[in-house]
């Protein structure tokens, strides 16, 4: 997960950013090798060549590295997108490709996904994909779904074009939730779920142009904003 992101971008990063990046890279490698529970902050620091205190300066706890996972996953997702979307014209194909790319990227980390979820499922936790702290990663992934929609042959009304990428991202979150608990070999069932739900999501998007359905989509989006996305008190 790490190489592409750090190779082509590291020259633009400050020293602190590079250190932070290295800690995330090492942590994810160790999580994949030894599992989340079997990996200590001490081991991560040692492997990254920083002091334990320094590691804690960047990440308050091992749990906060979960946000690092989320960040890396969305970065790599954005990197992979042009390749997997290339030549795909229908919205259903594009949604499927985006979902399968995510499952591919996250695959090696499935074993620590249970831990990931226990901490991230609470929408009020800073580790949740709906939290203010996750806003940057979330926006990056929503932007990907904007590209999925805009590059397709499906035309939607302007006001819907704002909302629908968020709804497609929410669809991905449902697939992620399923994936966390997926006990099938190679998480094959999650891939099947992605393939089965992609045309359905595409259909809903296409139908959102109907006047009778627009208020529903809009109200759905309001609910997501009011109940799921948490913002820091101003």
């Amino acid at each position: 997960m790490s190489s592409a992101a750090s190779d082509d971008g590291s020259s633009r990063l400050t020293k602190g950013e590079r250190t932070r990046q290295r800690i995330i890279d090492v942590a994810l490698e160790l999580f994949a090798e030894r599992g989340y529970d079997g990996t200590t902050m001490r081991a991560i620091a040692a492997e990254a060549g920083v002091s334990v205190g320094n590691a804690y300066y960047y990440f308050k706890s091992k749990e906060h590295l979960i946000q690092g996972f989320y960040e890396q996953a969305t970065l790599q997702h954005a990197e992979l997108a042009p390749t997997v979307l290339e030549g795909k014209e229908t919205l259903a194909e594009r949604i499927e490709a985006a979902l399968l790319a995510w499952l591919e990227i996250a695959g090696p980390y499935h074993d620590f996904a249970g831990q990931f979820f226990r901490n991230a499922a609470d929408p009020s936790s800073p580790l949740s994909p709906f939290s203010e702290d996750s806003a940057e990663s979330r926006e990056r992934d929503i932007a990907l779904y904007r590209e999925v929609l805009e590059g397709s042959k499906t035309r939607v009304p302007k006001d819907m074009a704002e909302i629908l990428p968020e709804m497609l991202w929410l669809h991905q979150m449902v697939v992620v939730l399923y994936w966390v608990y997926d006990g099938s070999e190679g998480q094959e069932k999650s891939k099947e779920l992605a393939r089965r739900t992609a045309p359905l999501a595409a259909r809903v998007v296409a139908l959102s142009r109907l006047k009778i359905l627009r208020p529903l989509v809009r109200q759905g989006e309001e609910l997501v904003r009011d109940f799921l996305i948490t913002r820091k008190p101003e």
Copy 2:
């Protein structure tokens, strides 16, 4: 939660069923008083006046009492339904009443809900509301939503009448998931979510009569069956 269910039904129960019922009642009382983690099987057995071995005969583990919770909640939900639905004619009102009744019943157990969810969120766990082991409780609650729909003024096509109660129950599961993580005073936000989503769900039901939407509802239901509801291998 216990009194109504055990008072009016206990004479029809066998001795074993009464013991099982008493263990559930006592466990739920102790969970509410001392929390889930602070309650041992030993304490439950002592309070229920049975041996520890006997308690384990009925419930393999403390976690299995979570299924007892689910069973009790659906029983009481079914009992409360005629009262809360009385005089309510619109589907939105009826859905809202059913959801609020559930939140009312579950309220005292909110503190142990986190534990409940950690165990029940995995669809392949026997403790999941989607499991074969939960089928009886699940069917009871789906039947309640059949009554919610049939007693309303909303008319739906026959094939949809089969599917929609399941979808309404699934909507309740979404509210339950939200409730598990709801940190607001008295879980007020969950009640607000119920009030906000009830008219939306009613609208979707009403629109399901449209030919253009029927395939979507049907495919949604197939997905639930294929991916969520787990059945024992035959």
